[in-house]
């Protein structure tokens, strides 16, 4: 173990000990602090001027960055969006603290954040020590599009960027309106979206992908599947007979092969060779979903919206 990390380990344990005895009697908000209720229902006291944010979830990093990327000081190794964020990681203006389930707590301690953004229940265990150390840990855990909008506005309020948050959301709404106006048509295309080839995994009822497919003018042939994603068999795909097949990421080889395979040939979309590919990033949970919608639309109808 190198010297700096030994020192910070000692600091951490001291703070943990201190935390053990001092917590449990949280005083009411000090001047310069505000209390917000997070998505898990915990009231969290947060400084009025938040300057150093650590995010343990790519979608939260993205939201912070859209509002004010400079204040994001720590993100995960999975963070990719927006572009500005990747740039800041390259320029070492943003520290990678590990992943959402294996964050380096000492690194977070060293960054000394005044706000830590986490996922929902699944990250509670990792964040307990951070809470003990007195860091404000705030859960943003949107379940659907309304939740994403709500959380984005809430984050805007916390960062004092309410105006910007509202503007960005309004832009998205306008963009969506415009897209809808341009693409107003009664026809919808039946789509099969495959996220993994072996076993064949597709998206179901509550997924972001389902929502995006729907907006783009597609009908997910497995929208009756009651989970985010699940395993299906070729026979089901034949039975639902999609007009279009969309493969996520690098399944080109697989898609090439199916043209020759018995069974697949029975499918309308395969016979007409209506097959597209899309990067998983366009189907992510984000307020910037419009790019994905447009891409899928182009795949479905062959026209740019």
């Amino acid at each position: 173990m190198s010297l700096p990390s030994r020192i910070s380990a000692a600091r951490v344990s001291a703070v943990i000990l201190f935390g053990l005895f001092s917590s449990g009697c949280a005083p009411s908000p000090q001047p310069g602090e505000r209390t917000f209720v997070d998505d898990l229902g915990y009231p969290v006291r947060i400084q009025r001027s938040v300057k150093r944010i650590v995010s343990l979830l790519p979608s939260n990093s993205e939201m912070v960055c859209l509002l004010d990327c400079e204040r994001l000081k720590g993100g995960t190794r999975y963070d990719r969006f927006p572009e500005e964020l990747t740039q800041r990681i390259k320029e070492k203006n943003l520290e990678v603290i590990g992943g959402g389930f294996d964050p380096n707590l000492e690194k977070i301690f060293e960054i000394g954040p005044d706000l830590i953004l986490v996922n929902g229940p699944s990250q509670q265990r990792v964040t307990l020590p951070l809470k003990r150390m007195g860091f404000p840990v705030f859960s943003l855990y949107p379940q659907d599009m309304d939740g994403i909008r709500r959380d984005f506005l809430l984050l805007g309020e916390i960062l004092d960027r309410e105006e910007k948050a509202r503007r960005l959301l309004a832009d998205v709404e306008t963009g969506l309106e415009e897209f809808r106006r341009k693409t107003r048509r009664s026809v919808k295309r039946r789509v099969y979206l495959q996220t993994w080839p072996d076993p064949m995994i597709t998206v179901g009822k509550n997924s972001m992908s389902q929502w995006i497919l729907d907006l783009a003018g597609g009908i997910n042939i497995f929208k009756d599947m009651p989970f985010d994603s699940g395993k299906v068999s070729l026979e089901w795909i034949i039975q639902r007979d999609p007009e279009v097949l969309i493969f996520v990421d690098s399944q080109r080889e697989f898609a090439e092969r199916i043209r020759e395979l018995p069974g697949w040939r029975e499918i309308n979309g395969v016979r007409k060779n209506h097959i597209c590919f899309i990067e998983a990033a366009y189907l992510r949970r984000t307020i910037q979903f419009l790019d994905g919608v447009k891409r899928i639309h182009q795949c479905l109808f062959g026209t740019v919206a």
């Binding site: 294996d102 064949m200 699940g230 395993k231 068999s233 026979e235 039975q239 998983a280």
Partner: protein
């Protein structure tokens, strides 16, 4: 003899019934007696290989479980006893996470590397489990434990590296036949019968072995050779089944016990009945896995325990001491 004759008849009836169900059940309505070209494609290329895979994998797993239980004289032994599954898991995880593709067109990457991984585990287990060309079953057991744990830790490392692949890996751990095709099936259809035939051939020796090694030696059985043949055979059967269908629990543990409770411990009857029942059982479970959560599929390993355990517990309660419990 009469009882055995009737039991066989009943078993064959159930086997045919399950095969019929497997071939006629599915999202597309098919009449087996009036087939359109599309129906033919579905029947020949999707349902038939799937049914055959589940039969041979189920039979193979059950048989290898029965052999391990006899060989180690341990009722808790099952087909995954010697850590073969962790070798297979490592192969599958490497193929998924590191993106290895199969050098042979007849295999998918996952089945090729899981087969390779299980053979590697098999080799290592027997290498460390032997001394001067001989091995005792207990040495083998410990060697299997060691190799299994070692491989599992590599699997854990790969799982941490995985992102999207994790879900596919989890499905591999729970087993299933949803993407069965002739490519994945031919291994099981050709190799399992060979192993099964060898297993039946030495069944009498395995019986004698169960009386204790000394008794076996004095009645002229080459105990070391019989033990070696059966251990390799059972482990190899497990390798085949894992590469075809991933990990399917329960079949190798419980089916042999069910058969013993009903038919007794004579391996000349136990082995063939276990094979047939294991295969039939897995065909039925896979058919259920297709329909329970339709259009999505349940992992067949979940179904095997969900529907098999109640039957097993019922037999356990009914058993009147002849089984020696």
């Amino acid at each position: 003899m009469r009882r055995i004759f009737w039991s066989w008849l009943i078993l064959f009836f159930f086997f045919s019934l399950s095969l019929f169900l497997a071939l006629s059940t599915g999202p597309v309505r098919i009449s087996l007696f009036a087939l359109s070209p599309r129906d033919q494609a579905i029947l020949l290329h999707l349902r038939l290989p799937r049914a055959l895979s589940s039969f041979f994998v189920g039979g193979g797993l059950a048989l290898s479980g029965a052999v391990f239980q006899g060989l180690f004289r341990n009722p808790l032994a099952d087909s995954y006893l010697l850590g073969i599954s962790s070798g297979a898991s490592l192969g599958a995880a490497a193929a998924l996470v590191l993106g290895f593709t199969s050098p042979l067109a007849i295999f998918t990457g996952v089945s090729f590397f899981s087969f390779l991984g299980s053979l590697l585990a098999l080799f290592l287990v027997f290498y460390f489990g032997s001394r001067d060309g001989y091995f005792s079953v207990f040495r083998l057991l410990l060697s299997g434990l060691g190799v299994g744990l070692f491989f599992s830790s590599f699997v854990a490392v790969l799982m941490i590296m995985a992102e999207e692949e994790l879900k596919a890996l989890i499905f591999f751990f729970m087993g299933g036949f949803s993407s069965a095709s002739w490519e994945t099936t031919w291994v099981a259809v050709t190799l399992v019968p060979v192993c099964v035939w060898i297993a039946f051939y030495y069944a009498r020796e395995l019986n004698v072995l169960l009386l204790g090694e000394e008794t076996a030696l004095s009645s002229g059985v080459n105990t070391k050779r019989v033990q070696a043949i059966y251990a390799v055979l059972a482990a190899f059967l497990t390798s085949i089944s894992v590469s075809v269908a991933g990990l399917i629990g329960f079949v190798g543990l419980i089916v042999p016990h069910m058969v013993r409770m009903v038919f007794g411990a004579d391996h000349r009857i136990l082995l063939p009945v276990t094979f047939l029942l294991g295969g039939t059982f897995l065909i039925l479970c896979d058919t259920l896995a297709k329909v329970v959560l339709a259009p999505s599929e349940l992992p067949v390993g979940v179904v095997t325990s969900l529907f098999g355990v109640p039957v097993f517990l019922y037999l356990l309660k009914k058993e009147r001491g002849e089984y020696g419990l």
